[in-house]
């Protein structure tokens, strides 16, 4: 059988951002794949040498337009650790609420894109309709829909009033009901199952040794969720990783669907348990030392390395994004797949090239 090389991306209908794959094809089967990124590398890490360490929160938030809040939060957590700053409990809960709202809208965005990739347009639109309700809650409590601008070193910039929290709690009931409707289709519809079940299987051993993170790892049986480390309000609100063992595209969908309801439950708990009090600790001085800090983004573990020397500028800021960690898994799961399944498989790791090209 003759082997053909088919270029996939960097511009492709299924990809909102540029990634390129050289697909080696025999007949209709993928036999080998070579990924390529770096088309829009922005060099944001280097900006840390020119931006004041407090100002840099704004840059960290702009690494990604989907999980922007958690990027800012992770940076703040690292600096707070270096400077031994104790963040008020209320601020930790507020961070957790906004972080989980981010996870909800990210997963719903992904579900919509997945439906779009296999041609289920009405399901795509329903997913994004529900997502709008979450963005409305984010806008009502932060003033932003993409960049929240609410996290700062030492706490958060704005509070959520008890009335707004009550509205959010009520709205969560509607959001949960609407999510149930679309999740029933994703998990129960026979045409969806035919496109996802048994496609792109990644074994537990491969997922672990390839350094997979997030739903991609958990769908292959790796019980790994950085929220269980206990940062922010997760020291009070316990999170059990949602794990499947099938390792296929359907399992990755099941994990993200279950995490939608897990996030709703976390937000409800946070609203019920949020303590009164201050929302920030005043920070003085400059950071010194180095740290590797991790949080759980919607796509998985993000790792920040911060290196400071006691001045207003950090010496080094390095981000390892979840998508970067999941690229080797994509290379492993594509061989053996049909060419027609490639767009779906690429999406099942929920690639965020904006993060990867930080």
């Amino acid at each position: 059988m003759a082997r053909t090389i088919i270029p996939f991306g960097p511009q492709h209908p299924v990809l909102p951002e540029p990634i390129h794959l050289d697909l080696a094809i025999e007949d209709e089967k993928v036999v080998d794949v070579l990924p390529s990124v770096g088309f829009i590398h922005r060099g944001l890490e280097r900006l840390v040498e020119r931006k004041d360490f407090q100002e840099f929160v704004y840059v960290a938030e702009r690494i990604c337009g989907i999980c922007s809040f958690i990027h800012g939060q992770t940076y703040c957590q690292g600096i707070e650790e270096l400077m031994q700053v104790e963040v008020p409990a209320r601020a930790q809960y507020l961070r957790t609420i906004w972080g989980e709202l981010s996870r909800l809208h990210s997963h719903l965005l992904w579900l919509g894109l997945l439906a779009d990739s296999f041609g289920f347009e009405s399901l795509f639109m329903h997913s994004w309709r529900v997502r709008e309700r979450i963005l409305d809650q984010i806008e009502a409590t932060t003033g932003g829909r993409v960049i929240f601008g609410s996290c700062k070193i030492g706490g958060v910039r704005r509070d959520i009033s008890p009335e707004a929290l009550a509205v959010m709690r009520k709205e969560l009931d509607v959001i949960e009901r609407d999510m149930r409707e679309i999740v029933d289709v994703f998990l129960g519809d026979s045409s969806v199952k035919r496109r996802l079940q048994g496609v792109g299987v990644l074994s537990r051993d491969d997922a672990y040794i390839l350094g997979c993170v997030g739903p991609t790892a958990r769908a292959s049986g790796v019980a790994q969720d950085m929220r269980s480390l206990g940062y922010a309000a997760f020291r009070d609100i316990k999170v059990e990783p949602i794990v499947r063992t099938e390792g296929d595209s359907y399992a990755r969908c099941v994990v993200r669907c279950a995490e939608l309801f897990q996030s709703v439950d976390i937000i409800r708990q946070a609203i019920d348990r949020i303590p009164p009090g201050a929302i920030e600790t005043k920070v003085t001085g400059f950071p010194d030392g180095e740290i590797l800090v991790r949080t759980e983004q919607p796509r998985g573990e993000v790792a920040y390395y911060l290196r400071a020397n006691g001045s207003r500028n950090l010496q080094r800021f390095r981000v390892r994004t979840p998508t970067f960690a999941n690229l080797p898994a994509l290379v492993r799961m594509l061989p053996g797949a049909n060419l027609a399944d490639v767009p779906v498989l690429v999406l099942t790791i929920d690639p965020c090239i904006s993060c990867t090209e930080r």
Partner: protein, 131 residues
Amino acid sequence: MSPDPGSFTAVETAALVAEVRLLRDAGWRLVQIGAAALPTAMEVIYSFDLGGKITNRRVSLPVEGPHRLPSITSVYAAAALYENELHDLFRIQVEGNILDFKGKFYRTTVPFPFASRPSAPALAAKAGTNP
């Protein structure tokens, strides 16, 4: 504050692969590889996780070069992309990478953009502030 600040341990370049193999055999997961161009050295940090614990290994290369490292892809295949990044952004030559993009992994307009650290006056001039 973070419940898991992690630790950093220095490793000689020649002992890197053996050290990493020990970690792999003990079940540690590769979290990241990243470099830092500091005024005193080019540092490369290898981070590993086991059950939520983090540990880091630091290799220091002389600031004037040569910046050469052995590949750890024979131990962790997933290191291949990180090692290409080390080359394309920091000009670190990684020898033995099983998936070497030969400098084509990142398509930056400035070659090796993170390889050198600008002087303080240069940074201040760019930022429009006094050093």
